[in-house]
């Protein structure tokens, strides 16, 4: 039942799901006349997000776009429960049809239960509520009822429907759950993508099939461990090296001898969520580095939020001070990073170029000797390109033949081409040329050192100036007698201290990791050598060495595939983003980093945090479009409140370009009236002030309006008027 065509939602049916009371019947979403945009318009709280939830529930039994006002409410419509008498059956249905002209899929989740006496309780604010209980992944139900689920997955290529037993398996083939966040989107998730990129890595690993490489690497590692175990107990030397190697590996992975993760139980991590529980960083190695990086991102985000609040709260002068301070604080870590890099490059230069300077005499001697031998014909110059080039340039052969003559020149060239290629000494001439070039540029070495020195001094001076400015601005801002500003500053200072401590710790962890990795590798070399010297372990040693090489190779593959995938994803995201916001702004680059976070650069400076919420949304949408393009999954896209936050220009661009980018993809937009119908004013490319509705009119297939009845607490689908 495989097909390779783009799929669309054909219909949705909701019966007694959340605020959808009664049976909606099949609400058609099927594309007609090639039009692929569906609009479902409703105001906040009228059920837009629950359409997204219903789709997710039908496919994955999850409701990820849950709004807080629904917590404590049953998944089944309250009026339907209240209408039923005790002992009556209550039914909830969520059903989706999707597919194309070749194949259709019908997925249904049907839940029934017999109503019993509702258990009432009083909440913390003294209100009387109905007690509900969550039952597995079915959802929340009135306490005491016993729901029964009837789920079905059917497909059809004609009139008859065929039923599949393993429902989840078939749904996952249509769209793996890890990728669903790229297809069912809400404004909040988009905002999250642009700022924290939670969960993106998992999805991208799934897309690039890197999961398979991870599994292979883990399998090879298991085999390595098995062979290492076999080598144990044969001789003390191999055991010692193996133990040392494993100690380093355990440190690097923060594991104990039983393979369990070791946590730093004495120092709890920062609370990243309101009321979140206490958690601890792993004790050592890469897991600690990862965990600390997350904490660092959290701190940076918090500092950024405080900066925004400070800018809102300060008077105009102090606001300028705050802005300047924020700029300096953003710039300083980069400057320190550049200084360290410069110093490290200088050391590398000193170590690597120093020997050449000291060996100038021997290099000159070797170079002269090569030249001398070449000139007197003691080197097998017949196949040497450089020698032939010299002859042609001199226009005279060593035998005296005049090489002005074209035929004589051709003879020399042919002779070189056809001559034997087995001369080892030929490389001598090449090295002679390399040495000569090195010697020719020798004087410049001094200027390189001078440049390093002046660059370091200049950068240090620049940093000192920034530090002075920073101190001055902090002192000025501290003088402002505003309680809130003071509180914010003290909170900011505390967070900055923590951030700096974390940065130092991260640098130390990095060094420690490098050191443990190096010592682990040394132990591995010693271990392999010791095993090879033991005749009983020779066979195991050979196999183990092969597996170690395989492990290294697969890690290189993992690295290369990730890099290639990230590059391609970054380029596509940049292309979309530039098209949507480029004209009016000065962003120069969009970079997808190793941790899949996106950076927007302006002349090399990171301006991601300066993006407006609209621009961030456009960035996230661009990323989603790029992911979808690369993923190859032919699945429709549903977006909740996609354009509410965007300013007029990108809104116009979105309206104009986004349907084109998604070309053959069905797009269902859950919109508010104002974001869909308000006129867009003051945009050059939209002189008639068209609304989004007017801009995308040609591509719209169906338009529905959600009608919410406050009294009946009921939403129904209606025609758009």
């Amino acid at each position: 039942m495989a097909d390779n065509k783009q799929r669309s939602f054909l219909s949705i049916r909701l019966k007694n799901y959340r605020q959808y009371y009664g049976d909606s019947g099949k609400i058609s979403l099927a594309p007609q006349d090639g039009k692929l945009i569906n609009i479902i318009q409703g105001e906040n709280g009228e059920g837009k997000s629950n359409i997204l939830n219903a789709m997710n529930y039908c496919l994955y039994q999850e409701e990820p776009h849950f709004k807080s006002q629904y917590s404590g409410m049953p998944i089944v419509n309250i009026r339907a429960i209240n209408d039923a008498a005790d002992g009556d059956e209550v039914e909830m249905i969520v059903e989706l049809e999707l597919g194309n002209e070749e194949i259709k899929y019908k997925i249904a989740r049907k839940i029934t239960f017999f109503k019993n006496k509702l258990i009432k309780q009083v909440d913390t604010e003294g209100r009387e509520t109905i007690s509900v209980t969550r039952i597995g992944n079915l959802g929340s139900f009135p306490t005491g009822v016993n729901p029964t689920a009837k789920n079905s997955f059917q497909w059809s290529t004609g009139k008859d429907w065929k039923t599949e037993v393993n429902m989840e398996h078939h749904i996952h083939k249509l769209l793996p759950p890890k990728l669903k966040s790229f297809f069912f989107l809400d404004g909040e998730f988009l905002d999250e993508i642009a700022s924290t990129f939670k969960g993106v890595k998992k999805g991208v690993d799934e897309l690039s099939q890197l999961n398979l490489v991870y599994i292979t690497i883990a399998d090879i590692k298991k085999m390595v461990t098995t062979y290492e175990r076999q080598s144990k107990g044969t001789d003390t030397e191999t055991d010692t090296y193996l133990n040392e190697k494993q100690n380093h590996e355990n440190w690097l992975e923060s594991k104990n001898l039983k393979g369990e993760t070791v946590y730093d139980k004495e120092n709890p991590g920062l609370k990243m969520e309101e009321g979140g529980s206490v958690w601890y960083h792993p004790k050592s190695g890469k897991p600690r580095e990862e965990s600390k990086k997350k904490e660092l991102d959290f701190l940076k985000q918090k500092i950024h939020e405080i900066d925004e609040q400070l800018q809102k709260n300060n008077s105009s002068v102090s606001q300028e001070w705050s802005i300047n301070l924020a700029k300096i604080e953003k710039l300083l870590p980069k400057k320190y990073e550049s200084l360290e890099e410069l110093k490290s490059n200088k050391i590398k230069y000193l170590v690597q170029e120093g020997p050449f300077v000291y060996l100038r005499e021997s290099v000159t001697f070797a170079s002269n000797l090569i030249d001398k031998k070449r000139k007197v014909g003691q080197l097998p110059v017949k196949q040497n390109e450089i020698f032939v080039k010299d002859l042609l340039e001199a226009e005279k052969c060593i035998c005296g033949t005049d090489l002005h003559d074209e035929k004589a020149r051709q003879n020399i060239i042919d002779w070189q081409k056809n001559s034997s290629k087995d001369s080892k000494l030929d490389a001598c001439v090449e090295i002679g040329v390399e040495f000569r070039n090195k010697l020719k540029n020798f004087k410049k070495d001094f200027s390189v050192l001078d440049k390093f020195r002046s660059d370091i001094i200049n950068l240090q001076e620049e940093i000192d100036n920034y530090e002075d400015d920073k101190k001055e601005l902090i002192a000025k801002l501290k003088g402002i007698d505003e309680i809130k500003v003071k509180e914010l500053f003290s909170e900011k200072t505390a967070k900055e201290e923590l951030r700096d401590e974390t940065l130092v710790e991260l640098a130390e962890i990095k060094t420690d990791i490098k050191s443990h990795e190096r010592e682990r590798n040394t132990c591995e070399v010693d271990y392999n050598r010791a095993m090879k010297n033991n005749s009983k372990l020779k066979g195991v040693a050979d196999k183990l060495e092969l597996l170690q090489k395989l492990h290294k190779t697969f890690n290189i593959v993992r690295h290369n595939v990730t890099k290639k995938f990230q590059d391609s994803l970054g380029e596509n995201t940049e292309a979309y983003f530039k098209k949507l916001v480029w004209k009016e702004t000065t962003f120069s680059d969009v970079v997808l980093q190793e941790d899949y976070s996106l950076k927007v650069l302006n002349d090399g400076y990171d301006v991601t945090h300066d993006l407006s919420s609209g621009e961030r949304l456009v960035l996230a949408l661009s990323f989603i479009a790029a992911v979808r393009q690369i993923s190859g999954y032919k699945f429709p896209l549903v977006i909740d409140t996609p354009i509410g936050k965007i300013s007029e220009t990108p809104k116009t661009n979105l309206g104009k370009f986004y349907p084109k980018y998604l070309a053959d993809t069905q797009l269902t937009l859950l919109v508010t009236g104002s974001e869909y119908e308000s006129n867009i004013v003051g945009v050059k490319d939209n002189p008639e002030n068209h609304s989004v509705r007017k801009l995308i009119k040609e591509s719209v297939n169906v338009e529905y309006k959600l009608n919410y009845n406050e009294k009946k607490k009921q939403t129904t689908f209606g025609d758009y008027t």
């Binding site: 050449f356 001697f365 050192l449 050191s515």
Partner: protein, 145 residues
């Protein structure tokens, strides 16, 4: 530098330090901030010591060879520097085809040059940057050359 002598390096042997120098080599590449070679490789230490051995012309035979550094630890550039030392020492161009002889000569110069390398590292005044010692020495060498 890049050379097109593919396959030419087959048979380049492991490079040794003297048994007496084992700890010195290991200490010099430790990340403790006291050595300019921190985080680099033993091959970097070896080549630097060899260069100083040539400068001071102090080849010193090894009492016991510990062939610990594999050929792949040495870049092409480094291997050609070793060859230039062997050519100078033997005054024979063709010696560079004999990898064992090249390595043996390079090892004796590295062994003899280590004392000068340690002198540079150990004689710094308290608080002085280790790289500034190397930079000053290098500037002096460039000036005199």
């Amino acid at each position: 530098m890049s050379f097109s002598s593919a396959g030419f390096e087959i048979g380049f042997p492991d490079v040794a330090y003297d048994a007496d120098q084992q700890t010195t080599f290991q200490d010099l590449i430790k990340d403790d901030g006291n050595s300019i070679f921190a985080g680099l490789t033993m091959a970097d230490v070896f080549i630097y010591a060899m260069a100083l051995g040539v400068k001071h012309n102090t080849p010193k035979p090894l009492t016991k060879r510990i062939p610990y550094m594999p050929p792949e630890a040495f870049s092409e550039n480094m291997r050609w520097l070793m060859r230039s030392v062997a050519i100078l020492d033997s005054e024979d161009l063709e010696i560079f085809i004999d990898h064992s002889k090249v390595v043996k000569i390079a090892e004796t110069f590295a062994n003899g040059g280590m004392q000068y390398l340690l002198k540079m590292i150990n004689e710094r005044v308290s608080g002085e940057d280790i790289e500034s010692i190397f930079e000053t020495a290098l500037r002096k060498e460039i000036k005199n050359s």
